[in-house]
């Protein structure tokens, strides 16, 4: 069984780096995209097992990208976690409306993120 793939779509290099560090000691394979368009393209090409989507992205917003992926039958079933700016601002509701499987408010604790990944992709 091949290693499960996590696609992280995030425009901030440092935040990508945190996830990279976090997953470096796990068996997950990590793919990265720096904007919404690239993220959608990578997702459709690689069909990852889990997508982490930042809400505010260049070129195509995280919510619009989520809707695109949900509309595509190849990617519609992939678990997708939207990283919102601020849970209380209503981003969470919008994320769920767009088709997210879960949401995580920024700033998140790396521990919580890892727990969430484990929840969707249990390690054998």
């Amino acid at each position: 069984m091949r290693d499960r793939t996590v696609l992280h779509i995030e425009d901030n290099e440092y935040n990508r780096k945190i996830v990279r560090q976090l997953l470096s000691r796990t068996p997950y394979r990590l793919l990265e995209a720096a904007d919404g368009e690239e993220g959608v393209a990578v997702a459709q090409r690689e069909l990852p097992d889990l997508i982490l989507m930042d809400v505010q992205l260049p070129k195509l917003s995280g919510l619009d990208a989520t809707r695109l992926l949900r509309a595509d039958p190849r990617t519609a079933h992939i678990p997708l976690v939207v990283v919102t700016s601020f849970a209380l601002s209503g981003d969470d509701r919008r994320a769920m409306d767009a088709g997210a499987s879960a949401y995580l408010a920024k700033p998140y604790s790396p521990r919580d993120l890892l727990a969430l990944i484990h929840k969707f992709l249990p390690e054998n």
Partner: protein, 538 residues
């Protein structure tokens, strides 16, 4: 702007009259430079003068009629006297004849008495008679004197027994004399009767004439009074009607109109003032319109600015969180020794970075919350929530802090509270703020959370044995950036926004917040929210 309204709603006869030369007269009276008082006085004076003139004419007619009636009376009286003279004459003849027959000279005295009566009446008649009858009366007197002389002769003849002489004297001298006198008196009576007839005719004519004069006068007076009344009253009514139309225009918000009246009296002055007022209103209206326009455009710009501010805040929220996410994330994975073992000397500064990073996050959250509330953009996410769960979450989150400060920290919820309806996350935030504050400002003693149901209201209460709040500060405690003492901020931390946000959130739920506090002994904060909140925005 000229109005037709002054002639509108007027009875047609009035309109016709005002279009005639009478209208010109009305305007002429209006143009007279005199006060309304003087004009009214003049009008009443004119009518009074008419009445006085009518009374004078009536009096004159009455006097003339009385004089003629008097003349008639006099003539009547004179006719009466003439009849008496005739009677006296007849009596004289009768007594003379009796003297002859009875041969009694005593009868002469009776004759004399009748003669005296005759003479007396004649003298009265002469005195009252008009000049043209005097000659007639003289003739009567002359004949009577002759008759008396004859009577004396007859009496002498009778006394001397010369009856034949007496008879002759009677027949030849006395009887013709009497006949003559009778004729004279008759013509006198006829003259008086003629005079009476002409007087009657002239009295009738005079009374007809006076009737006509009086009627004419009455009609003229009534017409003049009506005309005067019409002219004076309409010279007042016209400007009042103009003013009425003008004021209706003003009431409808059409300012700047002009009222034109010919009056040079109080109404003229009033019209001038109304025109002044109209100009002022127009000016103020224009100014107000300009101000409103300015305000509108300012408001539009402000709305734009507000929208821009909200967008800016939303962007800032993300922009601030992204680097903060990196700071807190790297700190956490370092502390979790993802990069290898952390030396003891580095652990403390790493924890400091984490503590300050979290504080910065709270600050950002509070400021964003408050600006959303200020902009009216904060909506409640209403749903069912469990009060017990909220209290448990808050108690669990703050338990470690209480333990650290060695404070007793309890939470009590009445078990009979049913599931509530509202924004559970916001209620949690409120209770967290109050309990967090209580723990922060309490050095020793206890902090207690208690929730109970009071009718349809949930009462959340947090009591502490902390430093308390001075009385004069209690009112300000819920204002933004208020902590009783700025040094407190440094000592106890906090943004100073928690209470203010809590108050707004409670109010959004339709509830209220309050505090009872005693300096040095502790505070009891409470807030109430409906068990079931329906609306999002309150």
């Amino acid at each position: 702007m000229r109005r037709a309204s002054a002639t509108e709603r007027m009875p047609p006869p009035v309109v016709a009259l005002l279009a005639s030369p009478l209208g010109a007269l009305v305007r002429a009276v209006a143009r007279i430079r005199a006060s309304v008082h003087v004009k009214l006085l003049a009008g009443f004076l004119l009518i009074t003068l008419l009445f006085i003139a009518m009374t004078a004419v009536s009096l004159r007619t009455l006097t003339e009629t009385a004089r003629q009636t008097n003349l008639l009376d006099e003539a009547h009286e004179r006719v009466g006297w003439s009849r008496q003279i005739e009677h006296a004459l007849a009596m004289q003849m009768h007594f003379t004849a009796m003297a002859l027959l009875s041969k009694d000279d005593g009868i002469v005295a009776r004759i004399l008495r009748e003669n005296n009566r005759f003479n007396d009446t004649l003298a009265r008649l002469e005195k009252a008679a008009p000049a043209e009858e005097r000659a007639l009366i003289q003739a009567i007197r002359g004949s009577q004197d002759d008759a008396m002389a004859t009577v004396a002769d007859i009496a002498n003849a009778v006394r001397d027994g010369r009856l034949a002489d007496a008879m002759t004297a009677l027949r030849t001298r006395q009887e013709p004399l009497y006949a003559k006198i009778e004729t004279l008196v008759g013509s006198l009576v006829a003259a008086e009767e003629t005079r009476m007839a002409s007087l009657r005719v002239s009295i009738a004519a005079a009374s007809r004439y006076s009737l006509r004069v009086m009627a004419g006068f009455a009609v003229a007076s009534i017409v003049l009074a009506l005309l005067g009344g019409f002219v004076i009253s309409w010279s007042f009514i016209l400007p009042v009607r103009e003013a009425h139309g003008f004021l209706s225009e003003v009431a409808e918000g059409r300012f700047g109109g002009t009222i034109v009246v010919p009056n040079r009296d109080e109404f003229g002055a009033l019209a001038e003032h109304m025109n002044w007022m109209s100009r002022e209103l127009r000016r103020l209206d224009d100014e107000q319109r300009v101000a409103a326009e300015t305000l509108r455009s300012l408001n539009d710009r402000l709305a734009l600015a507000s929208r821009a501010k909200s967008e800016f805040l939303a962007n800032m929220s993300h922009e601030l969180r992204t680097p903060l996410n990196a700071i807190l994330g790297f700190t956490e994975i370092m502390l979790d020794e993802l990069y290898g073992e952390v030396p003891a000397t580095l652990r403390e500064p790493l924890v400091d970075i984490q503590t300050n990073g979290r504080h910065l996050l709270r600050l950002i959250n509070d400021v964003l919350d408050l600006s959303k509330i200020e902009a009216g953009r904060l909506e409640l996410g209403v749903g069912e929530y469990s009060v017990q769960e909220i209290v448990e979450v808050v108690h669990a989150s703050l338990k470690s802090l209480a333990l650290e400060k060695n404070l007793a920290f309890t939470a009590g919820v009445s078990p009979d509270i049913p599931p509530a309806w509202g924004d559970g996350r916001r209620i949690t935030q409120c209770l967290m703020n109050l309990a967090g504050n209580a723990l922060k400002f309490t050095r020793q003693g206890r902090v207690d959370i208690e929730v109970r149901l009071d009718g349809e209201w949930l009462v959340y209460r947090v009591s502490d044995t902390g430093i308390g709040i001075p009385k004069d500060e209690v009112e300000n405690i819920f204002a933004e950036f208020r902590q009783v003492d700025t040094t407190i901020t440094r000592e106890y931390g906090g943004t100073g926004l928690g209470l203010s946000i809590t108050k707004r959130l409670v109010e959004l739920h339709g509830g209220r917040i309050g505090v009872e506090s005693e300096l040095g002994k502790g505070s009891r904060f409470f807030f109430t929210v409906p068990l079931r909140t329906d609306g999002g925005r309150a």
